[in-house]
């Protein structure tokens, strides 16, 4: 891809300790950077609810208490942000999407995650299943702070982190793909960090 072999005169690099298991172009951080398009929405758990809307318009909804009564998993996963940081071994607690989709009748192939504040992101539905995605309510044993997407965020660690919608309030199932917020303004529609799918055309 692009121009190969343009050496930057006088640049030698200060390579950081190379972590194993890091996708190409990523560097390791111990920090937990915050990136979002606007101010941090602050949603109380009383006001929060989560809904799944099928392609025919049927809605299944949980309030905070109902949601927290569901069986939770504790995945430990690596995060890869398109801005090139990766954070390894983060531990979350949340409900696998499989549980939430279990009783939902659908033949949809696509999903859009929708957030308080208006953010959206799209994924193929299969990327939410088979133990690949959770609606997380805890990070490192504590409630997720608003800056990091609390009370609840989608967690899809195998895709770039913008797909893990913060302040999530629902998933809409669709027959046809519908690009979300960043996907409409130049970011890759799928976002696989291992294939460096950062922008359109990557």
């Amino acid at each position: 891809m692009g121009v190969i072999g343009t050496v930057s005169p006088g640049f030698f690099g200060r390579r950081r300790a190379k972590a194993p298991d890091l996708p190409p172009g990523q560097y390791l951080t111990e920090d937990f950077p915050v990136l979002s398009a606007g101010p941090t929405p602050r949603i109380s758990t009383e006001a929060w609810s989560f809904g799944i809307t099928t392609e025919t318009g049927e809605v299944r909804r949980w309030n905070w208490a109902e949601f927290n009564a569901l069986a939770m998993e504790r995945p430990t996963v690596d995060l890869h942000c398109v801005t090139k940081w990766s954070k390894l071994g983060t531990t979350w607690e949340g409900v696998p999407l499989e549980t939430l989709l279990a009783g939902v009748e659908t033949s949809a192939e696509y999903a859009v995650a929708e957030s308080y504040g208006g953010y959206t992101t799209n994924l193929p539905l299969e990327d939410l299943l088979d133990g690949k995605a959770w609606i997380a309510v805890r990070y490192d044993g504590e409630p997720i702070t608003p800056a990091h997407g609390g009370p609840a965020r989608l967690l899809v660690p195998h895709l770039y982190f913008w797909k893990s919608a913060k302040w999530v309030r629902g998933i809409r199932l669709l027959n046809d793909d519908e690009p979300g917020f960043w996907e409409s303004v130049g970011y890759h529609n799928y976002g696989d960090p291992w294939r460096e799918q950062r922008y359109w055309g990557d």
Binding site: M1, V34, G38, T83, G117, S184, V185, G186
Partner: protein, 252 residues
Amino acid sequence: MARATVLGRLTWRVATVAAVRDETQNARTIVLDLPDWPGHLAGQHVDVRLTAPDGYSTERSYSIASAPEGNRLELTVDLLPDGEVSPYLARVLSAGDPLEIRGPIGGWFVWRPERPEPVQLIAGGSGVVPLMAMIRTREAGGARAPFRLLYSTRGPEAAFYRDELRRSSENGSGLSVTYAYTREVPQDWERPPGRVDAGLLAQAAWAPEREPISFVCGPTGFVENVADLLVSAGHDPARIRTERFGPSGGQP
């Protein structure tokens, strides 16, 4: 949230450094020549890729500082002493050198000169760079939307584009500039050093009733704090756009 620009496929291009210019002791503007630059919007950024002789390469994002004009592009880079890329860009790179970039990137944190509503710009440190592109775009196109810039820097010596901002705010075109100094203030300055707070915002920024669009850019901690203050002051969150410059969470 509204949909914004449509971008084409992004390819790496080799720009040539036409000139470099110091902005402060620690920051430098790099003027690039790009024969086939597709143009950009004020607020967009590019990715810069550096490659060592052994093939090792690394990338960082830099906002475009200049208004769209032909084949020229300016970036302003603040040197982080322990950083990998910024010391190279701010100290080593010189006129005549090649620089690989791709872009423009980003269609959300952008301002279009045809927008009529008042604009509130709030910058922390090098976060002023994409906001400067908006100010320059406004001037270049003779746009009339009134602009206010609130610029938080360590001290007067650390402020980018100082002379140009003074000229632009004195030429009657409708730009006002307020500085907030976090460490050192000039003599006879009315405020002690400190962060942007609700009081300063009430004094220096458009009132929410004017329904401005706000662009807030800087280090993560700064942006979080200012965006929260704007929301508390009654600004519609949907009219506040933020850009966070990466990992470091500290105040400028």
